[in-house]
């Protein structure tokens, strides 16, 4: 059972009690406590900040309306009236204004696109062609809604069309509507619930980040050690071969938005790598993988070692293998690792991967786009580590450069993403929306800094964040977090040095950091206890007397763009 209890307010002009029930019963991460406001007119609730829906404050507000419920012109169009598109535009804008006003009352607002009502044949075959056809009007309204909502921080549009399609012909079943004003059948609501949960996983840092893949009969058809790479089923005029290529294409697309791939396979490493490098139909090449364990050892052990190498925990990983016994072994060893029942039929593999809804992002940063390349660079760093004798020499040879800047509007999206997805190296695991983080940092006595890290092999991008607030003569570190990709390179100490320099400049007598434990952030506690040189006070609280300067790590170049 999940440890979260995210409050979700559901606002609708129809009866969505069944959706609330689905969200409540599902034990998947993250845990949800839905609050279903009685069906009714939504706009008054959006405009009224004293409405019961806003107390206690929801983490997420789902505003799912019917088009004829909030767009009077569309309701008239349903009755056969000819409606100008401009009338619809104005009503969409009014709805967006209401959503914008309400968006600050929860961390996130989700707005599904409008679905066609039951009787929406409108002008028949001309319905999309004619600008006043029902479909044309709905398409126009949804496009405008989507475009306008993207301008509102914390507000997201979800495409409801796939939810409707999930119900097949049942989506047109009016019985629930006539009987209880329930607009959607169970299958539609299940698909919606799955996406709401996927959104919350993405927003709270629980989306999966790495896929660990078997090779034989998972990434290609056949056993490479027996047939040789030339006779693998991959591509060609073969439905099975095409399905494997399609799976690789899907995986490659995931790497381009920051998902990391790894290989865990029982094979001879040189034989397997030869296939990956040379097979003409392979879409995934060695550089697409952040790492691999290709040997005859126990897969659970290999998974453990590879995740450690990638500095990711099992809760961030998905393990894909065609062999049920291997899946069972890994699932047993790592209860938080996602091990899907992989289909025996390769033609069903892509749908299975898509159906996991495990890799969703609520924003794609430059760091996400560069992540696959960064792991290639990481392999080069490890190679270099083996060539020099000391840790200090290795850091100096890496030419690590750390630049610290005050939070800006430009860095806010990535900073918020980092704040909400960093688990292991995170002091307080505070989760905030963009609006909340920005507003918090603007208060007097508070500062928020972002940290960029580069070295000779590449740019890690914005990979660290810390914030502090003045409390009398104490400077309290509120957030202190670092991507696991750059941990243990003395970047943490550089961040602490800047925090202490900031405290000294502000005239504070001490800097305090209070560690708030979660089930994942033990590495951060280890840093403060064993590395930071701060004085431990009570359990989890660390102190630095600002009468003493905090030494900057000499092996790395530290620059502060905005002097604290």
């Amino acid at each position: 059972m999940s440890s979260d209890n995210l409050r979700v307010a559901i606002l609708s002009d129809a009866n969505l009690a069944n959706l609330a029930a689905l969200l409540r019963r599902d034990s998947d991460e993250p845990g949800i406590s839905p609050h279903d406001a009685s069906p009714g007119s939504v706009l008054p609730i959006l405009f009224d900040d004293t409405a019961p829906a806003w107390s206690p404050r929801p983490d997420l507000t789902l505003v799912w309306t019917t088009p004829d419920g909030v767009l009077p012109s569309f309701a008239e169009a349903l009755h056969g009236e000819r409606i100008e598109g401009s009338a619809i535009d104005a009503e969409v804008d009014e709805y967006v204004r209401a959503l914008e006003g309400a968006s600050s009352r929860s961390r996130w607002t989700l707005v599904p696109t409008w679905l066609p009502p039951f009787a929406a044949r409108g002008l028949g075959v001309m319905d999309l062609h004619d600008p006043v056809g029902l479909r044309a009007l709905l398409l126009r309204a949804n496009t405008r809604l989507s475009t306008r909502l993207q301008e509102i921080p914390g507000c997201y549009v979800l495409d409801a069309q796939p939810w409707s399609e999930a119900a097949g012909p049942e989506r047109r079943n009016r019985r629930l509507w006539y009987a209880a004003k329930v607009p959607f059948p169970l299958a539609t609501l299940q698909a919606a619930g799955r996406d709401v949960r996927a959104f919350l996983r993405a927003a709270t840092g629980k989306a999966r980040k790495v896929i660990l893949l078997d090779l034989d009969n998972t990434l290609w058809g056949g056993v490479v050690g027996e047939s040789g790479w030339r006779d693998l089923r991959l591509g060609g005029h073969d439905p099975v071969g095409e399905a494997f290529v399609d799976l690789q294409r899907t995986l490659k697309a995931l790497t381009r938005r920051g998902i990391v791939l790894g290989i865990v396979s029982k094979n001879e490493e040189d034989v397997a790598l030869e296939a990956i490098e040379n097979h003409p139909e392979m879409l995934l090449r060695p550089n697409d993988f952040a790492g691999w364990r290709i040997n005859w050892s126990d897969k659970a052990m290999n998974v453990s070692q590879l995740l450690e190498e990638l500095r990711l925990g099992p809760e961030a990983a998905v393990f894909i293998d065609d062999q049920p016994a291997e899946r069972a072994r890994v699932a047993e060893a790592f209860p938080t690792l996602l091990v899907p029942d992989w289909p025996q039929d390769p033609l069903a593999a892509v749908d299975c991967l898509d159906g996991l809804a495990a890799f969703d992002l609520i924003q794609v940063s430059q760091e996400d786009l560069n992540r696959a390349e960064s792991y290639t660079a990481e392999r080069q760093r490890r190679t270099l580590r083996n060539q020099v004798s000391t840790f200090g020499d290795w850091l100096r040879s890496l030419d690590v450069r750390v630049s610290v800047s005050e939070l800006s509007r430009e860095s806010l999206p990535r900073a918020t993403q980092l704040l909400n997805k960093t688990n292991q190296m995170n002091l307080s695991t505070r989760r905030l929306s963009e609006v909340e983080l920005w507003d918090w940092a603007q208060e007097p006595g508070r500062h928020c800094y972002t940290v960029r890290v580069q070295d000779r092999f590449g740019d890690f991008g914005l990979t660290g964040l810390f914030s502090a607030e003045r409390d009398g003569e104490i400077l309290r570190v509120v957030d202190f977090l670092l991507s696991c990709r750059v941990m243990s390179r003395r970047v943490e100490e550089a961040m602490v040095a800047v925090a202490v320099e900031h405290g000294r400049k502000e005239g504070g007598k001490a800097v305090l950091a209070e560690f708030k434990p979660t089930d994942r952030n033990a590495p951060m506690f280890g840093f403060w206890r064993d590395v930071s040189r701060f004085e431990p006070l009570e359990e989890g609280v660390f102190r630095w007397d600002t009468s003493k300067p905090y030494p900057r790590p000499e092996e790395i170049a530290l620059s502060i763009a905005t002097s604290p």
Partner: protein, 104 residues
């Protein structure tokens, strides 16, 4: 189709509909398919929306099973006397009677 076969197939539909209903409920609130389970009334396990969900699911399953639309939703939700289908057993009997009434 004899009455026993009709009853058996109708019972499968009722069990299936309860299964669909249970997809919306936590495991500790799952509705038993036992014939004696009281569905409606003071000691019944279903609230009004749950009964609507059950009726709609049952209507769909009966339509698929028998290829006919006996209008169960309209009858169950508009019926004057819920005691006629207040338990799983009575509901099954009700379905059988409805199918008989619309099949030649």
């Amino acid at each position: 189709m004899d009455t026993e076969e009709l009853k058996s197939r109708a019972s499968l539909c009722v069990v299936g509909a309860i299964g669909e209903l249970n997809a919306l409920r936590s495991s500790d609130a799952a509705v038993s398919v036992d014939e004696a389970t009281v569905l409606l009334g003071e000691t019944g396990v279903l609230d009004s929306l749950a009964f609507v969900n059950l009726a709609v699911a049952l209507d769909g399953l009966v339509e698929r099973e028998f290829g006919t639309t006996p209008g169960l939703v309209g009858e169950l939700l508009g019926h004057a006397d819920p005691s006629e289908f207040g338990t799983v057993e009575l509901l099954t009997h009700f379905v059988v009677q409805r199918i008989k009434s619309v099949q030649p």
